[in-house]
Each structure stands twice: as C-alpha cells, then as structure tokens.
C-alpha cells in the first residue's frame, strides 16, 4: 500500500500541476494580505475564493488524474496487489497533493503575516472540501468509461453544490418565510458540504451578527460542542460516503 502510494505520489508531483496550483493559491493569498491588515477581512476574502476554487480544482484534477492513470491502474491490477489498495493509493495521492497545495499556498503567507483561528479553520475547510470533491470525482470516474463524461459529471456536481443548491435554499426560505425556519435551514446546510464549510468559517467572523436571528441561532449551534460534533461528522460522512461507493464500484469494474 505504501509502495503504491509512493509511486502514485511521485507521478503526481512530477506532473507540474501541483506546483502551478500551489503557486496560484500562494499568489492569491499574498495579494489578499496586501490589500488589508484586518485578519477578519483577509479570512473573508480568502474564504470566498477558496470556497469556489478549491472544489472546482479538486473535481477536475481528480477526474483527469484517474483517467490519465488508467494505464498505471491496469498495470497494477495484473500484479499481486489488492484492488482496494490500488484505489486507495490513487485517492490518497490526489487528496494529499491537493491538501499540500492549500497548506503551503495559503499557509506560507499566514506564517509571514499572522493568522487567527478563522484562518486556521479556513485551511481545514480547504482540505476537507478537497477530499469531498476528490471523492465525487473518483465516483464519477469509476461509474463512466469516458473521460469527458466523467469530467462533465464532476463539474455538474460542483455547480450543483456551489451555486444551484444555494438558489434552492433561498427559494425555500422565501416561500416559507412565515414559518420558523432555523432548524430546517440547519438541516439543509448539513446536506451540502460547501455550505457547511462556509457556515463553519462565517461563524468564526463577526459578520455572523449581520445574519439576523438565523445567524444567532447558527452561532449558538455551531459554538456548542454538539454542534461542532454534528458538523464535523456531517463533513466526515461527506468525505467517506462517495469514496466508499466509488471503492465498491471500482472493486467490481472490468478493466
């Protein structure tokens, strides 16, 4: 398993994409830090960028990586190694690379110009979202036999969770504005990993006061221990579940 991971990582780090992605994130972080001295504003700007870009890159990169490495995967399957190990080594390599890029790209400027708890949570959210969308991408890849189709499915999932879902939630909130909506909204947030990441971040900032009664309710929920526990288990499920299904499909796939 470690050997397979070693070769998979070696291949990824050689692909030059990792370097470009890290540098890109680094550039964003540096420029945001230049604009403002207020750490709260910095985290808010970085969050807005991260919440859009990181899932997108994770989804597209993981899909292309799977298809580009199909040869390697086939070669390994004819060797005395288990399928589950081949799959997990590829998955972990992708998640590791994406996480390292965020940790280095965003982390280095933080080391230089300082960070608060909000920025640290931002790093965590970035890593988690990378893992979630890598999972979606691997699921899309093992279910299809065509690279273009798999990328299409990954992108559709990204659009759904990043844009469409919020629209649906807003529509629901407006339609049922006469009813108390705190708990349903909370449930709806748990059903979207991107929103969950965003709310977790916002709760660290003062602007949650601007969100009215719902904001206060959220703040109360997410600052309690049970709230944190529920939120992190929801994120954990979002990481494990797609990957687990992808693993099952991979185990039965013909090569």
């Amino acid at each position: 398993m470690l050997k397979l991971l070693k070769y998979a990582l070696y291949d990824i780090l050689k692909s030059r994409f990792a370097l470009i992605y890290t540098f890109f994130l680094f550039l964003i972080a540096v420029s945001v830090y230049q604009i403002s001295d207020d750490l709260g504003k910095v985290s808010l700007s970085l969050m807005n960028i991260l919440i859009m870009i990181v899932p997108l890159i994770a989804a597209v990169f993981a899909t292309t990586h799977f298809y580009n490495n199909l040869e390697f995967i086939e070669l390994m399957l004819a060797q005395p190694v288990k399928r589950i190990q081949v799959f997990l080594s590829q998955l972990f390599a992708v998640i590791l690379m994406l996480s390292l890029s965020i940790l280095i790209g965003f982390g280095l400027p933080m080391l230089v110009w300082g960070a608060d708890s909000g920025l640290l949570i931002l790093l965590g959210v970035g890593v988690v979202l990378s893992a979630v969308f890598a999972g979606f991408a691997f699921l899309a890849s093992v279910m299809t036999r065509d690279k273009a189709k798999a990328i299409g499915v990954s992108l559709a999932l990204w659009i759904y969770f990043s844009l469409v879902y919020d629209g649906l939630v807003l529509y629901l909130i407006y339609s049922f504005a006469d009813y108390p909506l705190e708990k349903p909204t909370l449930a709806l947030v748990l059903l979207n990993p991107v929103d969950l990441g965003r709310i977790l971040m916002l709760m660290q900032l003062d602007i949650s006061a601007l969100m009215g009664y719902t904001g206060a309710f959220f703040r109360q929920f997410f600052s309690s221990n049970t709230g944190w526990l529920i939120a992190s288990s929801a994120l954990l499920i979002w990481i494990v579940f797609p990957n687990w299904i992808a693993l099952k499909v991979f185990g039965k796939r013909d090569f």
Partner: protein
C-alpha cells in the same frame, strides 16, 4: 493447474464468454485462437482477475481466485497492448515492478539483455515505439520466473529478430515445464510454440484438444489447413443456426 469452471461474461447485451470449461495443465503450451472479438482477451483478463465473470469460477492450484491476489505472483502476463505510465522511465518501471514482488530475488534477465533494454533505460515509456514497448512487456512477463506465462499476441508489432528471440525464449521455458498460454493470429508461430489448441467462436469454446487430434479430426496433415477447416465449420454452424432462427 488453472481450471475455468463454466464462467460466463456479458458486456452489456453482448455475451462475450458463454459457459467456458477449460483446463490448463503445467507442462503444456496452449494456443488460444479465434476471430476478433471471440473472447480471447476477456478469457485471459478473467484469469488475471481484471475482468470479473458474471458466473462460474476460476481455480488456480485448486483455489478460487475470487478475492485473492497472491496467485498472480505465479503469472507472467504480456498484454496485447502494453499501456504504461507515460512519464515513467524504463528503468523506473522495472524497479517498480520488482518492488511489487519483493519476495522474488532472482530475476530472469535473458530478454532484458537480448533486447538490450539496459541501454535505453532512461527513455520515458511515452516516447517508445510500439515494438519497443512490446519488448518491455515481454521482458517484464519473464522477469520473475513465473510458473505460468500468459502471452496475448506476443509477436505482434515485433521486428523479425525480436520475434526469433522471443520464440526461442518461449521454447526454453516450455522445456522447463511451464504452463504457457498464447493467443495469436499467426498460425506458424502457434504451431511452433504450442501443443494444445483451443478455438473460440462467438463466446463459446468450439474446439479444445491437442493439436494432434485437431489434425486427426479435420483430416489435415498440417496445422494451418486444419485451423482453416475449423473456421469453415464455425461459419457453417453460424449459417445453420441462422436458418433455424429464421424458420
């Protein structure tokens, strides 16, 4: 040594393997023949566990291969189209494959030396020609001195010198009592290298016996005409079943 017990496989609606019953014994060399799309590669990939049959089971040394991977240590596989990570160098590929089987300490470097792969070990796999890639595949298949050799169209794409080297190597391994499975469309090669004939047609085993009895049954003295006759019979069978279904 390898027994294939009534395996069937469908890809979508197409029945690729239908109720296959085959035995492969050590010390024999098998020619697996059949038109394109008759299920040769699917059969081989099923034995390797890359394709999972819908029903039936495959036993290697009396043990079902389902869920097992250790048996692949005994198999050297040369794929029809060798597909390798393109930015990996030949030398790295070899050391990686050795790394995958740490128990094997003694390597069979005959083909590596004769194909002079050592000299181009710094070339990336993606830059190699099809023939050179075939040489790498062949050298890898023999590298770990496996008991079973599965060669999927081994001579396709190789230059005449390389073909002779490879054939001599196969003969040598045959004399050592290894189980060899070859698919090919080049009948002359098969006649030289094998003693058992398996003919697949439209997902079914049409013929499975020694080459001697193939010649006897078809009444032909030589291998190629015998196979030609077999092919004619399959075509006849096809038209007769067609006329039945139309009736």
């Amino acid at each position: 040594m390898i027994s294939v017990n009534s395996i069937s496989k469908k890809f979508g609606k197409q029945q690729v393997l239908h109720d296959f019953e085959l035995r492969f014994e050590a010390g024999h060399s098998y020619a697996v023949m059949g038109p394109n799309g008759s299920g040769k590669t699917t059969l081989i990939k099923s034995i390797l566990g890359m394709v999972l049959p819908d029903s039936g089971e495959i036993l290697v040394d009396g043990q079902s291969i389902q869920g097992h991977t250790a048996y692949r240590q005994q198999i050297g596989y040369m794929p029809q189209i060798g597909r390798y990570p393109s930015n990996m160098k030949i030398g790295q590929l070899f050391s990686m494959m050795k790394d995958m089987r740490p128990e094997v300490k003694e390597y069979d470097l005959d083909l590596v030396n004769q194909f002079e792969l050592e000299m181009i070990k710094d070339k990336a796999m993606g830059t190699l020609s099809g023939g050179t890639r075939q040489k790498v595949s062949a050298a890898l298949a023999f590298l770990f001195q496996p008991k079973v050799l599965i060669l999927d169209e081994p001579t396709a794409g190789l230059d005449p010198i390389a073909v002779e080297i490879l054939k001599a190597k196969i003969q040598k391994e045959r004399k050592e009592g290894k189980l060899i499975l070859i698919t090919s469309h080049i009948l002359n090669d098969l006649e030289e290298l094998t003693d058992q004939a398996i003919y697949l047609f439209e997902g079914e085993v049409f013929f499975n016996d020694s080459i001697e009895s193939l010649k006897e049954i078809t009444g032909e003295g030589r291998f190629s005409p015998a196979i030609a006759k077999l092919m004619q019979w399959t075509l006849k069978k096809k038209t007769s079943t067609k006329s039945l279904t139309h009736a």
